[in-house]
Every structure is written in structure tokens, then in C-alpha cells.
Symmetry: C2
Subunit: 440 residues, 2 copies
């Protein structure tokens, strides 16, 4: 392990201990300072970002594997984006303190009271794409929840990120908090070294490709919170309202095709296919969407591209849409079980029984009725911000806001209580009487 | 992967899908049947267990590494234990249904409502010690929470476990549930094969040695919920009541020395040492406790065994106690940070400021004031039963009951809502209005 990575992680561990016992006001003050600095240093930030963009753009001209338009878009800052970042930080500061919240208060016996209170996880290691606003969101949520964060952002954003971490650390100092609480890791080697140190890192959050997430999961004993991929379906049921169906497919596919919650495959009930498929093609083709259909789709619209087996598992991240005609809801559910990634699945239907069954049976982080899959997002859910969207079932599922960065401790207050008194002949019995968690 | 292990895991996956959508009454009926079968087949169960014990006992005479008294004790069933197992299953059946509980209900906008509801994790793979009552607890909690469970118990209990799984499967059939919901894995190879299948197993719960837990964490991408070890401390503060201090050390060390929540090290405030240490030695020695002291302890009690550095990290699981004199609470907290395993830490003090600081600053699953560390347990906390005690911070921490076996899904019900309407110029604004989760 490089001396640098170890020293940084040790500083993060120390900072996390300080953060865990700070009052909310101090953490919120750091966030308020940060918001002010983002506004005050906006010009310098835009300049650093412009340099990042120049280099990324230059590469774009030189190399085939260089950044595409969507990636450049995420990398780019403008005055409105910087203002939105500052607003986002203030919104996180305004949230209630997530720490030391009482989740359970139970009298085990007379004078023996158990409470469960929230606490931070400790030290997070977050690997994320070349997207400066992600850094600010992650740092804000980490600070608010009392966690230290070791950050490794996409290297294309290195200048923007370096300045942002500088601003976060200045804000921490201003609030008398240790600047080790948020640090930028120097490179991939540092990340790999830290993956071997469960004593120094409590949770790894990789944002990015499925391959990245799997590689990290395979190389560490530290828990990993990763969203693997988003193969989201939209089912157009027999009773789907045609106008709503078209609008929701359009929104799900086109509102932001690179997003993990974009629709990749549309499943159309066979009794709605003749009615819906031609209108779908007519609506999407002029908008530049490439449609790939199953054999039954091609029978209806002969000039569709034929879908292959691979299409049913594809996360296009692009204006491409696979379409399949299914015999009924059973076949749609089976297709989703076989090919869905557990991210977000939606049904469009006016039939409340079909909707109820879909909502009850589909096993995914988000299961939607008559709404676009694109709503699966921490901001839209009202979490203030998100560190990512988890497709795992453990610890956090769906958009991960503050709650996903918390653990808890059980506090037990007694008066000399011994377990021996509760065992064997004539043992005392537990009361297990729950008390109001809002009472002090 | 062996055909058997794969077929078993696929049957478990299918069963888990059925379980996830069953009404509570059906799962509870299976549990009631199981309780009845445990009572009705008690004689056969005791016979199978007697054979397990004979074999384990025979090995005990032959081999050095054979089972010790504590392990044999855990392996042994008697009529009272079988009756308690049946009672335990009925207690789990009587708990409220943990599935489909609404955890959040939020109006995102007019006609667009988000709810978060609990759901099972899916398929659990649980590796546990040679302890038949653990099998019944784990199977009960899994069924109650709608999860399928693949079980690998200690091989010394193989006959007891085989019969218990038979009874569980008979109860499942009786309740018209798939018997694939609870299965016994044939051997270690099956476990290792399943560790490579994140598609078939959602959570691995290894109970047992630290080495076992680490080996499993290192060899799988599947999330692991393991309690690593329990190096629990009891701090005897300057203001500790002497009688209470002695009683709690005695309970923490001797009530069940093999438990992970037993006390391993006592830290005594220097200004209480002269008062407490001699009485502690006097109290524990006649009870067969071996005491190992720091240099300052030896200065007070010259015939103590000297503690080495290794003693501060030892989980004895035996009537051995390490004792250290500390300058103040700061030194006690630093010692716990350096050597504690994050399981359960206790302070004995009449000083409320010292207690408050201890409760606020110690980072462990359980932090106790004037109570024995032995209370850290799912039954004693009122969880009905436990599948283990987690010293990790992710997903579950402390005793893991039903709640630790749950995930959640976000359900969104709209009326054709599109994300495009909430972005750009003239965008609609989200309401994010929380509603009463108890309203239908």
C-alpha cells in the first residue's frame, strides 16, 4: 500500500470519529460555507472545467475511444450548473440531522432500557464518473451524515475535481472540522490499495460500468454498494391508454437515454400490438430512435430491424429500443424476471387488477404504474440528493440518499442488570415494552 | 458447480418467488405445523441427536481437536430444549407480518404517489455451527420473512439437522408451500459452488469462526453478513459501584464464557484500582477464572499472571479475563478503539457525564451502561429470535432478527406522469408531501 493512500485513509478514519460526534450545526455550517465558496469561486471553477473540457475535446478528435457527447455533457459546467450545485448543497444542509435519531426505544425490564440510534458508517470510498456535480453531491451527503469520504472521480474531470475538493476542505476548516473528512485519492492504485483495508474503509461505492462494479466486488472483503446496470422495461398492457403509452415510452427512452433508468425494452400485449406498435414506430422514428423488434413485431412492421437474443439484455444508453410482443402479463413478468436488472420496471395499463399484480410481483428496486421509469432518482423521490442507485437488495435499494449512509448502535442503560437473573429456575421475565421514540 | 447444488439453489429461487407473494397466514400456518411436528416427533429427534452425540463423544476420546464441552452442550438436545424450540417457532409465527409494510408514503406531485414497502431478500445461504436449535431459529425467521434458505449446519449435528429439515419441509407441504424454501446443503463443496452464483444467492450468513467469515468474504461477490468476533470490554470507572462492578464482571465473564458477547477484558480506572482489583481477584479466582493483568495490575496483585500484547486482542471463549488499569476514560476509549471488535462495550459508573460520553463515543453494535454485555442478543432485545449478531455496519448491525432479512421496493403510481414535465423552462415542481403511512 502506498504511504500516501494509507496516510489519507488514516486521516479519514480520524476525521470520521470527529464527525460522528459533532453537533448538526457544525456539519451544516461547513455545507453553508461550501455553498458560498461554490458561488464565490465560480469563475475559477469554470476555468478549471474549461481546461478539462479542452483536453477531453482534444482527445475526442484524436482517438476513437474518446469521450462521447453525453460524457462531455456530464463533464461540462456552466454558470447555471454551478448555481444549482450551490443550491443543492444548501438543500442538503436544510435537511433534518440524520444522526442520533432514535429508531427504537424499548423497556426490556424495569430500569433496563434499550434504544437504537442512527450513526455514520465511518469512511466511504466512492469511485465515480467524470462529473463534477457528482463530487459535490457525494461530499455533501457524506458530511451531512457524519461520514468521511475518499473520492476518486473520473480523471477527465481532474482539474474541476481538484478545485472542488479544495473548496470542500476550505469549508471544513472554516467550520473547524478536519479537512481529512473529504479527500481526493490520487489514482487507481490508491483505490486498489484501499480495497485491501477493511480496517480503514467501511463501504465502497463504485458508480460506473457493470464491469467496474464487478471487478471491485471481486477484489475486496469490504461491502460494496454498486448499481450494476439498468435494463428497464415498460409493459404496454392490453388496457393501456394509447396516448399515455406513447408519451411514457418517449419520456422513458428519450428524456435522457444515457441514464440507467431509461427504458431499454418495451413489452406489448398481443391484443394491443396492432393498435400500439405502428403508432410507436411512427412516433419514435422521426425522433431518431432505432427500433429492434421480435419476429411478431416484424410481422406487423416488416421494415423494423430484427432484435437478437442479446438485445433483451442490452443497456443501450442510446436512442435504441427493443420491442417484443408478449402473449399476456405472465409472459411479460417472465421476460422481466429473465432479463431485468432489478432497477426499475413499469406498466402502462388502465386495468387495476393487472397493475396490482405487476406492483405485487415484480422484484425490482422500482416498480411503477402509469409513470415514466425516469422518476427513479433521489432528487425526484425527495431525498435531497443521491450517492447512487443500488440494484442490490442488501443495505440500500433504489436511490441512495442519506439513509443509505447510516448505520445504528444499540444503547442499553441499566442499573446493574445481569443476564443470570433471566435464566433458569425462577428467572425474571423480559417486558419488551415499546415506548414512544419521540419522548426524551 | 455440482448439478445438485445448482438444482437446489434454483428450487430455492423459485420457492422464494412464491414465498414473496404469499399471505402472512400461509407462512404462519407452516410455522404452526412445524411447532406441532417438533413436539410430535420429539422422540425421533432426541434419538437422532443421541446418535450425533455418540459419534461426537467418541471422537472426543480419540482426537485432540475434537469437540469440547461447550460444543457438545450446544449440540445436545433434551426434551426441554425441544419444547423451547417449538415455543420459539410459535413466538415467531405470532410476530406481525414483516412483508409489505409501508415504510414511506409520499406524494411527489398531484396524482403521483411513491410508497416504499418491505419485501424479502430472496435466497439466503446460512452456514452455522453444530447446533440444532439454530437451524430451527434460522428456518423460522427465513419463512416468516418470505425468504428461502439454503442451510449448511455443522456436520457433527448431521442426523439432527437432517430430521429437522425433513420436519420443516413437511410443514411447508402441509401449508401448500414449496419445500424448496428450506433445504440442507450436502457439503462444503456445495457452499463453495454457490458462493460463485450471485444470481442464485442474495445473502450469505456465516456463523462461526473469524477465519470462516473472512474466507467466505474473500471468495464471493455475494454480500456477506458475518459476525467476525466479539472482543468485548467492561470499563470500571472511577465512580463504579463496587458491588455492581463485581456482579457485572462476573455475569459478563462467567454466565456463558463461550458466547461472543462475553467480556474478555476489564479496564479499571486507576483511581478505582486499589479498591476494585483485589475484590475482583478474590471474587473470580474461586470461580475458576484465570486473570491476566497489565504491569500496573501486577504491582497491586503480584501473583497475577502477566498479560501480553496478544491478550488485548484475544477472544478467549473461556474463563480467562484480561485486566488493565487505565489512567482515565480517554485511555479506556482509546484501548477500545484499538482492540475492540465493535461487538458490545460496557461501562460501570455512577457518573452520568462519564456514562453519556461513553454512550456517545464508543463505536460498537452495542454500547451499555451499568448492564451486562450478555444482554446483546436477539431474544433479550425482543426480536423473537436471531439469525446471528452482525459486527458489520452495513445492512444490519447487532442482533439480526426479521428486519435484517428484509429489503424494500419503491412503488410509484401515476397517471401518465413524465419526467420531461419537471425539467427545463416552466417545469412543474415536485411537492414531496409525506402522508400517513398507516392510511390505506
Amino acid at each position: 500500500m502506498t504511504a500516501t493512500a494509507q496516510a489519507m485513509a488514516e486521516a479519514a478514519r480520524q476525521a470520521s470519529r470527529r464527525l460522528a460526534i459533532t453537533p448538526a450545526g457544525q456539519r451544516d455550517a461547513a455545507l453553508q460555507h461550501l455553498a458560498g465558496l461554490l458561488e464565490g469561486r465560480a469563475a475559477a471553477l469554470l476555468e478549471a472545467n474549461a481546461e478539462d473540457l479542452r483536453e477531453a475535446g482534444a482527445e475526442d478528435l484524436r482517438e476513437a475511444g474518446a469521450l462521447d457527447a453525453a460524457t462531455l455533457q456530464r463533464l461540462r459546467l456552466d454558470p447555471a450548473k454551478v448555481a444549482a450545485m450551490a443550491e443543492g448543497v444548501r438543500a442538503v444542509a436544510a435537511l433534518p440531522d440524520p444522526l442520533r435519531q432514535v429508531q427504537l426505544r424499548r423497556e426490556l425490564d424495569e430500569g433496563l432500557e434499550l434504544t437504537r440510534v442512527t450513526c455514520p458508517l465511518g469512511v466511504l470510498c466512492v469511485i465515480f464518473e467524470a462529473r463534477p456535480d457528482a463530487l459535490v453531491q457525494i461530499a455533501s451527503l457524506a458530511l451531512k451524515s457524519g461520514n468521511a469520504a475518499l473520492l476518486k472521480g473520473g480523471s477527465e474531470a481532474c482539474r474541476s475535481n481538484a478545485l472542488l475538493v479544495e473548496l470542500v476542505q476550505a469549508a471544513l476548516r472554516e467550520a473547524q472540522l478536519p479537512e481529512g473528512a473529504v479527500q481526493s485519492l490520487p489514482g487507481r492504485e490508491a483505490v486498489h490499495a484501499l480495497l485491501q483495508r477493511p480496517d480503514l474503509v467501511d463501504l465502497v461505492i463504485p458508480r460506473g460500468s457493470k464491469a467496474l462494479v464487478r471487478a471491485i466486488q471481486s477484489s475486496t472483503r469490504i461491502p460494496v454498494l454498486g448499481h450494476a446496470d439498468g435494463v428497464c422495461h415498460m409493459v404496454l398492457d392490453e388496457a393501456a391508454d394509447p396516448a399515455m403509452a406513447l408519451a411514457l415510452v418517449r419520456d422513458g427512452k428519450l428524456q435522457y437515454p444515457a441514464a440507467c433508468n431509461a427504458v431499454e425494452t418495451v413489452l406489448i400485449h398481443q391484443r394491443a400490438a396492432a393498435r400500439l406498435l405502428p403508432r410507436l414506430v411512427e412516433d419514435l422514428r422521426p425522433r431518431g430512435v432505432e427500433l429492434r423488434g421480435c419476429a411478431r413485431c416484424l410481422a406487423l412492421i416488416p421494415d423494423l430491424l430484427p432484435a437478437t437474443e442479446d438485445d433483451w439484455d442490452a443497456e443501450y444508453g442510446a436512442p435504441i429500443l427493443a420491442v417484443k410482443i408478449v402473449a399476456d402479463l405472465d409472459e411479460a413478468l417472465a421476460h422481466i424476471r429473465a432479463h431485468g436488472s432489478g432497477h426499475t420496471e413499469a406498466i402502462v395499463t388502465g386495468d387495476s387488477a393487472a397493475a396490482a399484480r405487476f406492483l405485487a410481483e415484480v422484484d425490482a428496486a422500482g416498480v411503477f404504474h402509469n409513470a415514466s421509469t425516469r422518476f427513479a432518482d433521489g432528487f425526484r423521490y425527495g431525498f435531497g440528493a443521491e450517492v447512487g442507485i443500488s440494484t442490490g437488495r442488501i443495505h440500500a435499494r433504489g436511490p441512495v440518499g442519506l439513509e443509505g449512509l447510516l448505520s445504528h448502535r444499540y444503547l442499553l442503560r441499566g442499573n446493574g442488570h445481569q443476564v443470570a437473573d433471566y435464566t433458569g429456575q425462577g428467572a425474571r421475565l423480559f417486558r419488551h415494552k415499546d415506548k414512544d421514540i419521540n419522548q426524551p
